[in-house]
């Protein structure tokens, strides 16, 4: 992206003046080198989102922003129903409530090392990963609806976890307002065999080691020490979420004219929040959030089973679970007044600051853990929400490294076997059903995650707490 089109507010904050049909300005949080590496489409998409009815303050892009569908990935935008605000299926994305959860293992590197190969094999064997992988759980129609209403809470009630997990999951594990009756039979059918599966693409389960503590106070509150072994799980709402996204994207594209919405691009398809279609999507999307929360909870159970066999007596406790493809109703201060807004985060993580009432008691004083996934060969980061983030981008931060290169380019540049061997030499075990998938996800195909989180930190979106490096990656 040409920075000549932007107004530099500070080293990490760049503005796009409202022009043409834009109702609000655009704001990009990143350093100049990251912005220069962004596709021009990000600029176009930030501007397009700014044209949608009822948008409040600005159309935001996080430091890892890249070209998405309608909204940029790494995009944040809030809409006010009282101002004709809209809800957009593209602003949430196909993988509704895709997110990351991180667990403490209580293991030291010395305890882990002798069993690393066996642990990798057991996790790969037990956690369904890759295209078309199926889980062991089959839900009846009634059970499916209960899962869509109850999310991780449903999963815990079914024996897939413990009460303490729910406190450390956004929405206490169950997104309110889910309406399984607005989830189509097709979407439910697509999910039938996919409960407790990772999926493919950039989804993974990783065993990681904390290699550096940036903020001792927050790390201590999160229970993180240098050398600790963690497990992070990155996945979403699987076929159900994809099908909901597909169906509502079409419904919104077809009916936009009827609602008097002029779309600069069909992929920005949206509906007024208060319209019947908007409300149906909201109910279905919330059911999709619950599906993702239940899915990560079931995978947590499978992970705990594997660890219990290899490391008897060790218990995996949940640090936190965040989603980065959502639309949530939140109260935010806008020009000194509290407003109820529908905040879309597409490839962006909510990052609540200290004192926020939605945080569990144990974290309220310090702020929300913000879990940022890296790539197989680099690092992941844990950040903490800041007080100032609310005024910057509705308490939002980045969600990952963000791709720098297409899958197409990546497969030309790397072979899966070479990637696996090279990482093995560095002590990282990769297990994946597809070597082509590994090549497409090669670490070099992504932006430098360290530069992305540094930008988030410096911009004030969230504060760096800890760096983690992979030891084992189960790649979908």
């Amino acid at each position: 992206m040409d920075t000549g089109k932007l107004i530099r507010q500070s080293e990490y904050e760049w503005h796009i003046e409202a022009h043409g049909a834009m109702r609000v300005p655009g704001v990009i949080y990143a350093r100049e080198d990251l912005i220069r590496a962004m596709d021009d489409k990000v600029y176009e998409q930030v501007c397009n989102v700014a044209t949608l009815p009822g948008i409040v303050n600005a159309s935001y892009a996080m430091p890892d922003a890249h070209w998405g569908y309608g909204f940029p990935i790494g995009g944040v935008a809030a809409f006010d129903p009282k101002a004709g605000g809209v809800i957009s299926a593209g602003g949430v994305g196909f993988d509704i409530s895709c997110g990351v959860r991180t667990l403490h293992t209580g293991l030291s590197l010395e305890e882990f090392q002798p069993l690393r190969e066996r642990l990798a094999e057991s996790l790969f064997e037990r956690i369904p990963a890759g295209v078309g992988s199926t889980g062991r759980i089959r839900l009846s129609g009634r059970e499916m609806d209960a899962m869509l209403r109850g999310g991780a809470r449903w999963a815990v009630e079914q024996g897939f976890g413990e009460e303490a997990d729910l406190e450390r999951t956004e929405e206490h594990g169950a997104m309110a307002g889910a309406a399984p009756e607005h989830v189509s039979d097709h979407a439910k059918r697509r999910q039938r065999d996919e409960m407790g599966t990772l999926g493919s693409g950039n989804h993974y389960l990783e065993v990681q080691r904390v290699t550096h503590i940036h903020d001792a106070g927050a790390a201590s509150a999160f229970g993180l020490r240098e050398g600790d072994i963690q497990v992070s799980i990155h996945c979403g709402s699987r076929g159900l979420g994809h099908q909901i996204g597909t169906e509502f994207l079409k419904a919104m594209a077809v009916s936009a004219g009827q609602y008097g919405i002029a779309l600069p691009d069909r992929e920005l398809a949206c509906a007024p929040i208060d319209s019947p279609l908007g409300q149906r999507y909201l109910g279905a999307m919330r059911a999709g959030i619950n599906c993702a929360l239940a899915n990560r909870q079931i995978i947590t159970r499978l992970t705990r089973e594997v660890f219990a066999e290899l490391f008897p007596g060790k218990h995996l406790s949940l640090l936190y679970d965040v989603s980065h493809n959502t639309c949530k109703v939140e109260e935010h201060l806008v020009d000194g007044a509290k407003r109820r807004l529908f905040v879309h985060r597409k490839g962006a993580t909510r990052a609540l600051g200290p004192g926020h009432p939605a945080l569990p008691e144990g974290l309220r004083a310090i702020g929300q853990p913000v879990l940022i996934g890296g790539t197989m060969g680099t690092a992941s980061y844990i950040l903490v929400g800041t007080a100032e983030s609310e005024q910057l981008a509705y308490s939002s931060a980045c969600h990952g490294a963000g791709r720098a290169m297409s899958r197409h380019q990546a497969t030309r540049q790397w072979r899966g076997r070479e990637v696996v061997d090279e990482l093995a030499e560095r002590g990282i075990i990769i297990r994946s059903p597809s070597l082509r998938g590994v090549a497409e996800e090669a670490p070099g195909a992504y932006k430098d995650v360290s530069a992305v989180v540094e930008a988030a930190d410096k911009a004030g979106l969230a504060r760096l707490v800890a760096r983690l490096e992979p030891l084992i990656t189960i790649k979908g």
């Binding site: 493919s200 693409g201 994207l249 297409s406």
Partner: protein
């Protein structure tokens, strides 16, 4: 219904880059042929179509107000059939007319030992979505698929 014409020069498919995902493009002598090729392009995102035996047929019907939405519906219908039947497809037949698509996808059940599957397609998107006739009379059907 308009039958896909027999190709004078072979129809073809290709991928094109998108930063996070993959663009699929089918080119043929009619919209129907371009749709068939776009389906092959999408299959090749997931797995090698030449390794998929066209043993079993699945019928697909879609309707949409225009050709572009119909292309996305067609590709998404294939995504759904693959996901729920555990199948991969390698041959496609499409007839188009009056906002309707009738299609047949031929393929087989996934066999892990023969079919390496790189990535699943979550859905076809409206990004870079075009169904157009080029100056030389050939048709292009393309969009980005979310993986």
């Amino acid at each position: 219904m308009e039958e896909a014409k027999t190709a004078r020069t072979p129809p073809y498919w290709e991928h094109y880059p998108h930063q996070a995902d993959m663009g699929v493009r089918g080119v043929g002598h009619s919209p129907a042929e371009a749709f068939e090729q776009a389906a092959l392009a999408m299959m090749a995102v997931i797995s090698d179509p030449t390794a998929i035996r066209p043993d079993a047929a699945v019928s697909i019907r879609c309707s949409a107000p225009d050709l572009e939405l119909l292309l996305v519906d067609w590709l998404n219908a294939l995504v759904y059939e693959m996901a729920t039947r555990g199948m991969l497809f390698s041959r496609f037949r499409v007839t188009l007319g009056d906002g309707q698509l009738q299609g047949t996808a031929r393929g087989e059940q996934v066999a892990a030992e023969r079919h390496e599957r790189a990535v699943e397609v979550k859905g076809a998107t409206y990004t870079d979505l075009h169904v157009i006739e080029r100056d030389d009379g050939t048709w292009v059907a393309q969009c980005v698929v979310d993986v």
